[in-house]
């Protein structure tokens, strides 16, 4: 396959795979070189989703001695399980990694657990920002609004699938378009002109909601490049005329070519087969051109996913993409029990994979062109249920990249205490920054207009301004 038929590749590039088969594609036949010159303009977002609801309080911990002591008392049983009295244990104050003081928070200080040492370094280098008390909102809310059951309280709070959907798509289960996909709608034509329309949105997960747009259909990539049908192996294109003809029939069958079926489900499956074949073959070729990443990634679940994303980014020119959005994720954060055993291992996995990804972007000289951000179903309760925590609302999140105005906390971090004005019960905090504001800031960095942002984020108008996540934004 190294001896690619260049003619065929050119034709494939010009084929709009995916949603757009119309106008802009034709530009590519004469616009390719001009657009290639703009490749330095490449930008991408990577959404890292923590399925199950990550405990933000146990990720960004209180550090000044007063706050730490109160927190340790609130979570006494959990701290016991962390063996926090042992000075070397991961929740012992002495073992935490303190963040530089921020006068906005008075005497309060914060720290990351030792498992996030790599991210702490990125924070210190100014390439990672923490966004505090972030969550789904339709409009700014007070505790009185929530207690009065205001219609502005987001539907189906505390329910996993609904809040995942709300994070990704501004509405509960059943919502069909995610803001990643809607952002990508704005980039589809430019990518299609380069031949990479089908690769505007890539996911390593089965979940596609976040990346589904009006026109954009996400491509699900394997962890080791595109999969291949083994059935074709016995019928090489270089074989006898019969073998080549048989291969063509098999490809037509496996791609459900020109199958039109009246049953919606059957047609959906046929369409999926057709799209899979076209995109898998293109992806396979492009990745062969670029080879392996220079950076070594951990072999964890997340490490392998971010390695696949880094490979796709390194193949951006062969794929023909200028703006992309990626989705990766790991589960296991629903720590109703055994949090002290589960969460540190997850933090370690996040830390190793994310820092490797950042190194890979550095080695591609794309550090400033790619921003990774985190998302999760919800934060968790501040109060514990013995050895775990329950479903909450707001949480804290991370934004990583060379263009990020890092080394600081963006937004609010309400005190880690019960019964203050942000607490609607058991330490479920009302968000003070909405997911849509967060998304809006990311989208603006990608170059979307206010109009495009408002189309992708239906409630954005209800909020004043965007959090300043990047150096070039206020």
């Amino acid at each position: 396959m190294k001896h690619l038929d260049l003619n065929r590749r050119r034709v494939l590039r010009q084929l709009a795979i995916g949603a757009s088969l119309t106008g802009p594609v034709l530009l590519s036949s004469f616009g390719r070189s001009a657009l290639a010159a703009e490749a330095s303009d490449y930008r991408a977002l990577v959404c890292l989703f923590f399925f199950g609801g990550m405990d933000a309080f146990d990720t960004v911990l209180p550090y000044d001695s007063d706050s730490y002591a109160r927190f340790a008392q609130l979570r006494a049983r959990l701290f016991q399980q962390y063996d926090a009295a042992n000075p070397a244990a991961s929740r012992a104050r002495t073992a935490l990694l303190p963040l530089a003081p921020d006068t906005r928070f008075g005497s309060r200080r914060f720290a990351l657990p030792a498992q996030l040492a790599g991210l702490k370094t990125l924070y210190d280098e100014g390439r990672l920002a923490i966004v505090g008390n972030l969550g789904p909102l339709l409009a700014p809310l007070t505790r009185a609004d929530v207690e009065a059951d205001s219609p502005l309280v987001p539907a189906r709070l505390f329910s996993h699938n609904d809040q995942q959907s709300t994070w990704m798509a501004s509405g509960p289960e059943g919502t069909r378009l995610g803001w990643g996909g809607r952002f990508a709608d704005s980039w589809l034509d430019a990518n299609a002109a380069l031949g990479g329309g089908a690769f505007t949105a890539l996911t390593t997960q089965a979940t596609r909601l976040f990346l589904s747009g009006e026109r954009v259909v996400p491509y699900t990539t394997g962890l080791n490049g595109a999969p291949r049908y083994r059935l074709l192996d016995g019928f090489p294109s270089t074989g006898s005329p019969t073998q080549a003809a048989q291969r063509a029939r098999l490809r037509a069958h496996l791609g459900a070519a020109s199958v039109a079926l009246p049953q919606a489900l059957a047609q959906d499956y046929a369409d999926a087969l057709a799209r899979a074949q076209a995109t898998n073959e293109r992806f396979d070729e492009a990745l062969q051109d670029v080879g392996e990443n220079e950076t070594a990634f951990p072999t964890s679940r997340l490490g392998r996913q971010l390695r696949a994303v880094a490979r796709a980014i390194s193949a951006r020119e062969a794929l023909g993409t200028q703006r992309q959005v990626f989705f990766v994720g790991i589960g296991g954060f629903d720590t109703h029990a055994s949090q002290a055993r589960t969460l540190p291992a997850l933090h370690t996995e996040i830390d190793g994979a994310t820092t490797a990804f950042q190194s890979a972007m550095d080695s591609l000289s794309l550090s400033r062109a790619v921003t990774l951000f985190t998302a999760s179903d919800f934060g968790r309760t501040l109060s514990i249920n013995d050895d775990g925590t329950d479903h909450g609302w707001a949480g804290h999140h991370l934004v990583v990249g060379g263009d990020v105005a890092g080394g600081r906390i963006v937004g609010d971090l309400p005190p880690y205490e019960l019964d203050h004005p942000s607490d609607v019960g058991r330490g479920r905090f009302i968000p003070t920054t909405s997911v849509e504001q967060y998304a809006g800031s990311l989208g603006r960095w990608m170059g979307l207009t206010a109009e495009e942002l408002n189309r992708a984020l239906p409630n954005l108008r209800q909020f004043d301004g965007l959090p300043s996540l990047f150096a070039d934004t206020s």
Binding site: L250, H253, A266, D268, A272
Partner: protein, 636 residues
């Protein structure tokens, strides 16, 4: 939860075979539902439909075909059988699986593909010799196969335990090995098939790294709970599920402690929430047909967070059935994984418990509180349509119309269903699953052939069920799951993207409410769970996995357990058209489209002809291509 693995397999008893419903009690001559009045009142304020039994098929109001009994002679052609090249002479119109005289191969296979892990020749003969109603009744009588027995045997095999008696990786996978074995070879097919459907609603998971991975005996006990109650009563099922150690581990209420004001500790809310959201009533108030009840144009949430807080108190103070609440390794391996949980009064919340309008007085103990809770939940107006819709989706139809849901919900409430041959299924108690499953399988919308023009019908066959069907048809009783390791973990998109009892989350492999973006079904508003695992990656993974099964021929070591036997169709190898048409009916119960058929036939004709290995190759390719065609994957 300690992560200590299980030691020696404990002694297990064969579970009782209780739960199967006795034979029908009454013969109702020719009764149809045509006189039972309107079923789904469009008025959102309507309470559940009148409960005058029996819940015979109700008049269809959603464009469904007419009920199976007393068909309108004038409309026979609309509800007729499959068109196309059946191997039988053209059938009579108004085919239904209960009508022995008229049942075609297609209709019988379609029925059996829903009621079993794949139609075989012997089941087909049975349905055709008697009737689908008779077959169904016989299935109700069959005793449940025992997962515990399977797992105990598998744990006794070489390599299943290490020298210290703890299960190895092989030992920890035994419940999954047992699943495939029973799915393919067990005699109680209807029960096992329904249990598998239930396993996708009452989800536990023994994925690698999950706590239940270390508890093969506890998982096997849970599998038996589902199978033993699959055709029994939903109320009993709920109680046995709620008191099973595996569920308590999976949804983290094992050793859940009552609140402690001094420390601010609150009970774990996990089970309270998922019991409501996933197992019984769902998130929003439902009409009897399963559609949301609207107030001011918006769905009404069926519970609040206060309800969860109140309900969480119920599931406190439960632990393994030993003398030690905070059990350790010894207790864990004492056999208690395979017994219902024990209530420990000192750890149970004796505060008053309030939720959903239920008030459990202060001082009520754990087991009494659980019984009051489950009694209330089974009476909740949401439960019947909620469960009905889920079961239809798992057994028959990806996106069932509301009237079908309403008819099944009615059978759930009445506990009775009139089978096509005029006899009743069920014992007349609310929540009877024999009646409910009968309603799912024999409903006119399920049975009636709306033909190729049924745009919104059918079910996307689950990858696991495609593979069980292949194994039942072409490997059969020779199948040895323990020697087929590639089926032990099929979670990856390189494999089947679906693995029984290894779901990635409490939401199963896919969610019931999934609307696939960018699809025709999505545009039509059809929720199609199975599309959630159809990706550019998993489509190839399925084809490759299936291909390994078909082409290995028992040669490759990792497929050693699945050597296929194609003698039933090898004789057609020289006649590709007949071969394809016959396989289309055997596998998919319907002919495939001309495009698909022509392409497969052309490919087969260009393969070397002859007997022996050449014939085998033609048959293998024919099966592989049919089973990867959209025509087959989308069941009618």
């Amino acid at each position: 939860m300690e992560d200590a693995p299980v030691g020696d397999p404990p002694q297990v008893e064969t579970p009782p075979t209780g739960g199967s419903t006795p034979s029908p009690v009454a013969k109702v001559p020719g009764g149809s539902g045509s006189d039972s009045g309107p079923d789904t009142d469009p008025d959102p304020e309507t309470s559940p439909p009148p409960s005058d039994p029996p819940a015979a098929p109700l008049p269809a109001d959603d464009g469904d075909p007419p009920p199976p009994v007393q068909p309108d002679p004038g409309s026979g052609s609309e509800s007729g059988s499959e068109s196309g090249p059946d191997l039988e002479p053209p059938p009579e119109p108004a085919t239904d699986p209960g009508d022995a005289a008229a049942i075609t191969d297609s209709a019988a296979i379609k029925f059996l593909n829903r009621a079993t892990f794949g139609a075989t020749d012997s089941d087909l003969s049975a349905v055709q010799a008697d009737s689908a109603s008779d077959w169904f009744r016989r299935e109700l009588e069959k005793p449940a196969s025992s997962f515990q027995r399977e797992v105990t045997q598998l744990l006794a095999a070489d390599g299943a335990t290490d020298p210290s008696g703890q299960p190895t990786f092989q030992g920890r996978r035994t419940p999954n090995v047992a699943f495939w074995q029973l799915a393919v070879t067990a005699d109680d097919q209807l029960r096992q098939r329904v249990a598998y459907a239930l396993s996708q609603i009452f989800v536990i998971s023994n994925r690698s790294r999950s706590p239940l991975f270390d508890w093969p005996v506890g998982v096997a006990y849970y599998q038996d709970v589902l199978a033993r109650n699959a055709l029994g009563n939903f109320r009993t099922l709920l109680e046995e599920v709620s008191l099973s150690p595996a569920m308590a581990i999976h949804l983290t209420y094992m050793r859940n402690l009552k609140a402690d004001a001094a420390t601010g500790r609150e009970p774990d809310e996990n089970y309270a929430r998922e019991l409501l959201q996933l197992f019984t009533i769902g998130l929003v108030e439902l009409k009897p047909d399963g559609t949301p009840r609207l107030a001011n144009g918006e769905p009404v949430e069926s519970y609040s967070n206060d309800d969860i807080t109140g309900l969480a108190r119920v599931f406190t103070g439960l632990s393994l059935d030993t003398d030690v609440f905070f059990y350790g390794f010894a207790e864990e391996n004492s056999g208690a994984q395979a017994r219902p949980l024990r209530a420990f009064p000192e750890w149970h919340s004796v505060q008053e418990k309030q939720f959903l309008g239920v008030r459990i007085p202060a001082g009520t103990d754990a087991l009494a509180s659980i019984r009051i809770t489950l009694d209330a939940l089974i009476q909740h107006p949401n439960t019947a349509p909620f469960v009905a819709r889920q079961l239809i989706k798992r057994l028959v139809m990806s996106a069932p119309p509301p009237a079908y849901v309403a008819r099944v919900a009615r059978a759930f409430e009445d506990g009775l269903y009139l089978l096509p041959d005029g006899e009743l299924a069920g014992r007349g108690e609310r929540g009877d699953l024999a009646a409910t499953i009968a309603a799912v399988l024999f409903d006119p919308r399920a049975v009636g052939d709306s033909g190729a023009a049924d745009e919104q019908g059918g079910k996307l066959r689950e990858p696991v069920l495609r593979v069980t069907q292949y194994l039942r048809l072409f490997v059969g009783s020779a199948f040895d799951s323990s020697r087929t390791p590639a089926l032990h973990e099929t979670t990856s998109a390189d494999s089947l993207a679906q693995a029984p009892f290894q779901s990635p989350s409490v939401f199963n492999f896919y969610r019931p409410g999934y609307l696939a973006p960018g699809t025709r079904s999505g545009d039509l508003g059809m929720t199609v769970p199975e599309l959630q695992i159809v990706t550019a990656n998993s489509l190839v993974g399925y084809s490759n996995t299936l291909g390994d099964l078909i082409f290995s021929g028992g040669v490759a070591e990792r497929w050693a357990g699945a050597g296929p036997d194609f003698s039933s169709v090898r004789g057609f190898a020289e006649q590709p058209i007949t071969l394809v048409d016959r396989l289309a009916v055997m596998l998919g119960a319907a002919p495939v489209s001309n495009e698909t058929r022509d392409r497969i036939v052309a490919f087969l004709q260009d393969l070397p002809a002859g007997v022996g290995e050449n014939a085998q190759q033609r048959v293998r390719h024919a099966i592989q291509l049919l089973m990867t065609s959209p025509d087959y994957v989308a069941a009618k």
